[in-house]
Symmetry: D2
Subunit: 270 residues, 4 copies
């Protein structure tokens, strides 16, 4: 861990990143929205629903990294314009994934947080590019990456000058097949003892099962996570991607209530 000179905890204050009305790293944040932006109607409807249910930010993919060349690859610029509209209507800041270093600077016009996906965690060209802009970066852990490697990737971004990195644990690849990945929740307190950067959890990609998202969300919170990012869809059965792991708006509302309640207890117990 000697090479995490800027990302390491030693001698530094915890990083606080103001986005919308919240301060990531201080306020617990709930980020919710569809896996992919599919249409304006779908995205705005979901955005209104998650806002109503208590989400602090809106997620939605315009560029989708897909295993197969023949699966829906996202709406691209059109999707970003839809996200912009959803932000106008709800006031929710927008988180969206960037796949290509050539897209970084212009995507900053449309999004509030740039997401680096798990498959690109060690895409060093992309890391350097997001390190040169003035937007917070949500850095997902590689599904095969050790905690040390993940922090080294955050270091690449910090080293280029962008101090606002949010780490996101989203499950690692193991032999277990009941869940899509294995959520490594120990990474949350581990990151907190190694680094000053905030760390949030994505229980949807980690488990791949709607039924496991609520308990693992509460567990993430209890382990000390600074927030959650979950997939919500108004018609999960018709979603163009990740249909098995998207909550319905009413399920998200219930989860948000449970999370806020647990949070209030945890804060009172400190």
């Amino acid at each position: 861990m000697n090479d995490i000179k800027l990302a390491g905890l030693k001698g530094r204050d915890r990083t606080l990143i103001p986005v919308g009305g919240k301060i990531i790293g201080k306020d617990f944040v709930l980020i919710a929205g569809p896996c992919s932006v599919e249409s304006e109607a779908q995205t705005v409807e979901i955005a209104l629903a998650v806002k109503e249910a208590g989400a602090d930010m809106l997620r939605g993919g315009a560029f989708k990294p897909r295993t197969s060349a023949y699966k829906f690859q996202g709406l691209g610029l059109k999707g970003l314009k839809i996200l912009e509209k959803a932000r106008e209507k709800t006031g929710l800041p927008v988180v969206s994934e960037v796949l290509d270093p050539r897209d970084v600077s212009w995507m900053c016009e449309y999004v509030d947080i740039l997401q680096i996906g798990t498959r690109n965690m060690q895409n060093f060209s992309l890391l350097k590019e997001v390190g040169r802009v003035n937007k917070p970066v949500l850095l997902k852990r590689g599904m095969q990456a050790t905690i040390a490697e993940w922090l080294n990737c955050a270091e690449y971004i910090l080293h280029e000058g962008n101090p606002d990195v949010i780490l996101c644990e989203r499950g690692i690849r193991t032999f277990e097949t009941y869940t899509r990945n294995t959520l490594d929740l120990s990474a949350v307190p581990a990151v907190r003892e190694l680094s000053h950067l905030p760390v949030i959890v994505d229980p949807a990609h980690a488990t791949g099962k709607v039924s496991l998202i609520p308990p693992m969300s509460l567990a993430a919170l209890a382990a000390g996570a600074d927030g959650l990012i979950v997939e919500v869809h108004n018609h999960p059965e018709n979603a163009l991607s990740d249909k098995d792991q998207a909550l319905r708006p009413e399920q998200f509302a219930e989860l948000a209530r449970a999370a806020r309640g647990l949070l209030a207890y945890m804060e009172s117990a400190r």
Copy 2:
């Protein structure tokens, strides 16, 4: 999962296992004690301390499965007699690991719960033998075992006639090296949706780091675990095994307080 005819949830009530004054599967249980029984003084002192701190049961190894043939292998019968004494002095029921099918019947005279360790999860001779006695069995998940394989091992025990199996998630083996294993907390709600058997969590073997035990214990509780099993030592630095993952009695007392508080909140929020 077709072969978990007896362990499967379908059409069955949740298994409740009375041990001491508690009902495992209904009451949250805290099991604590040294990794190995080293001496009567050490074991009794720790037993009194964990009792005082709120433990419901005492754990302690008399037979130790060790990677190396040259490491401390446990005190055997002498260790069991010490545990018996600790039970007399504290009233705490005793959990201890059995390694050999030939030891099962006589060990039942000394312990309240027989533990099957992670390396023996698929030791089918041993599973069949503990299936024929009248003592609850704590079945640790193999560090390489899928959830399906684990439940199939519980099935072996139930099939022999012993209905009282307690599952224990203790971390699986992955590529991550910061933690000793990777605690698969998703296994807790997964087991709860697949089986009627109670499931507890061992955060000590999973993480191998004292600093990660408290947050992961609370996370386990939030995920729905029926209990925790942790290692406590009065002088961790001198422990004959697992010294890096044993809590001091005062650390355990703090953890027990935090766990009981969170539990009370969780129950009130239902």
Copy 3:
């Protein structure tokens, strides 16, 4: 690796184990036969076929460790008696798995090599028991075990007094699903630089696919393996276990020819 005092290479000659007319560790050995002993007719027919095809030893399971409590568990003593008959008819020494420490001494009357299966690699009671008898032991690598842990298990056997341990790489558990396990062939030269014990390869359990067995057998040989153990069945489609990875006798004969040819080349090229 400090604890492999007896299994380590340092200052020791390579272990040579005479079985039948061959010396394991010096002569390349081909071990073949059914996964499970199912009947006398089946076993004797297969034994005659593999003998004809060039096998040096006969494998066959009388006690079968099965994931499910409801799958065929082997014929037990009856199976061992059948193996004894097959040996009489063919002259082939017999390799069979022992599951329970209570069976070790009497099984020595029936078999020429005791096999410890992957799920029992760290069954220390069983290791100690086979360490006290006068039969070679084939120690399969645990599907989750590091090379260091595997050698430590060999050390347990040597430490009890039995010097005749044959290591067997049979695939480790990874995220890959196309193959049943991942054959870690690097373990062959790794073991050869760490230990004086012979090491053979089981390509059937490692790959779980008939089509991959011949190329991986030749690869094992090229990597320096001291032998191969493969499953052969006269009617694989009706086998009571592991039907997808059993060669037909004529496939085995072709593999044996290819292996002997490659071996002759490798020896001439030294």
Copy 4:
């Protein structure tokens, strides 16, 4: 595997890719050279040595993906110009890694084969970009990727119009720590039964140990690999990257001799 319409074997001839005087997919190819291009003197000296020893192509990194932001990142364009010079002096075609989609078109002026590294296997922007140029692509398997995912990444390249993809197995990430990764040699025959694309093996990154490279190279050949890519350095102890896994030129010469001999035997035995 339904989505590998172009990469799948079904109904297609094996892909043959002429590079220099060799046809990859038909002729066995040996690719050798330094991990990183460090200087003209170093690169040319190594290039002459590997040419002399029987290499068919020269490898060398100008852009280096490094875990740490503070490690040598490669000489960039200067490195490519050095490789160009080494090609002039030896006639060896050049293989070098491309990290950024913006570099693809101009790098084609300098290299004969574009390499996609393990961390970028699922960098879909980069895959699409190399799919649009007229240079063969060496696609390394992601250290966390299943065979199915790997073939889907080849499909991305083929789908854009570039038919010349060479697959390269380089080890996957597992729990084993004695080797740097675990070389999954079964992937070689697996790919050959699933796809018409040639597949080569990188035993250096897979094992991370000089001593294991020769046996695993021969094993790769016996398993049916179409070639090998290895790291050679004139002064491994001073290499700026991967010093523990680089062969000295004389070790490579010996390996090349052994490989050519085994190859001749394998062809005669068909």
